[in-house]
């Protein structure tokens, strides 16, 4: 019997899949652009069919293009141009923005994630379980979870913080827990 035979077998771990992410903002805008391109193409085809006598009605594209051709400088060009420039800069920013993570990793042997919105649910539920807490709301940022509780009285801050920290201890990294208390007299 060799030393290798006596060693316990290592538990195989699957290849971790990447964290779930939201679709890129650029892709959502791109879908809108693609639909707009198809719509403009459809209008152009309609005008062509109209000119060939296949359908009846008035043309749409030539009047619009003629209006551009006959455009003269006017007061509204300045605000409209500024608005277009702002939209253009916003598009450039969105195009470069990274995809947002929709879930946070948990400390586990394999790739396990919890949705960001559910971190808030867990925190609020943990805080509500503390005796003396009437109601509770929670919000979460990337690094901190803030719980706002209505309590009957007393110094419950440490208890609430401990309860929430215990429930969220698996998050990697564990968030900073901020507790805001408001004392209310039960009616």
């Amino acid at each position: 019997m060799t030393a290798a035979d006596t060693q316990p077998m290592a538990t195989p771990v699957p290849r971790p899949a990447p964290a779930p992410r939201a679709s890129a903002g650029a892709s959502r805008i791109a879908v809108g652009c693609a639909i707009a391109i198809v719509a403009v193409g459809g209008v152009a085809l309609r005008d062509a069919a109209l000119a060939l006598g296949w359908i009846r009605g008035g043309p749409w594209l030539p009047p619009a293009l003629r209006a551009i051709a006959e455009l003269r400088p006017a007061w509204w060009l300045t605000p409209a141009g500024a608005a277009l420039a702002v939209v253009g800069v916003a598009l450039c920013v969105v195009a470069c923005a990274p995809r947002r993570r929709t879930a946070r990793p948990l400390t586990a042997a394999t790739a396990v994630y919890v949705r960001r919105a559910d971190v808030v649910t867990v925190a609020a539920a943990a805080a509500r379980d503390v005796p003396g807490v009437l109601n509770c709301r929670a919000t979460a940022s990337r690094r901190a979870v803030t719980v706002r509780c209505r309590i009957t009285g007393g110094q419950l801050g440490d208890d609430v913080r401990a309860a929430v920290s215990e429930q969220l201890g698996r998050l990697d990294p564990a968030p900073r827990v901020v507790v805001r208390l408001r004392t209310e007299q039960p009616s």
Partner: protein
């Protein structure tokens, strides 16, 4: 969506943004008298009076519709994973990735911590990927859910090795108040 499609979207949106910014600046400059688009307007008016305008319109319409539909077609869900090769040396064997995901869902659903479970097998970045989505109670659900997910994922690793990637996403059911452990 493929990474190439996302990259194309980003470049297209960035170029559109630059174009809109330039157009906005031109409009402001035109109002101030710095530039004049009279040459462009004359060209546009000439094109509109061209007898071949109809054919130009038809050609541009077909091109725009085809390009737009092709662009739209790149925005699809990730493709389903087919068969994955099993890590055996003796014989060539493979397994259906969707069936693996279904079996993993069935195993995960048996855990007391899991309220509801679903799964899918897709190809992400060229790797067959099993994504399990499990709903757990709000109280002590994360610990129990993560432990159950580890057990199921490790079972998949025993059967398939690292030929597939595994990911478990936990959802929390706020209405379930039961303490799991």
């Amino acid at each position: 969506m493929t990474r190439r499609a996302v990259a194309f979207d980003r470049v297209a949106v960035f170029v559109s943004g630059l174009g809109l910014t330039a157009l906005g600046c031109l409009m402001v400059a035109w109002r101030r008298g710095s530039v004049s688009p009279s040459g462009f307007q004359v060209t546009l008016a000439t094109a509109l009076s061209d007898p071949e305008w109809t054919w130009w319109s038809a050609g541009a319409g077909v091109l725009l519709v085809v390009v737009g539909l092709r662009w739209l077609a790149t925005h699809h869900w990730p493709p389903r994973a087919g068969r994955v090769a099993l890590p055996t040396q003796a014989l060539k064997a493979s397994a259906d990735a969707t069936s693996v995901a279904d079996a993993a869902v069935a195993a995960l659903a048996q855990d007391a911590a899991v309220v509801k479970c679903s799964g899918a097998a897709t190809v992400e970045r060229g790797v067959p990927t099993v994504t399990l989505t499990a709903t757990v109670p709000a109280r002590h659900g994360l610990d129990a859910g993560a432990a159950a997910a580890d057990r199921v994922a490790e079972t998949i690793a025993v059967m398939l090795g690292d030929t597939v990637a595994v990911r478990t996403v936990l959802r929390v059911d706020a209405k379930r108040g039961a303490i799991v452990r």
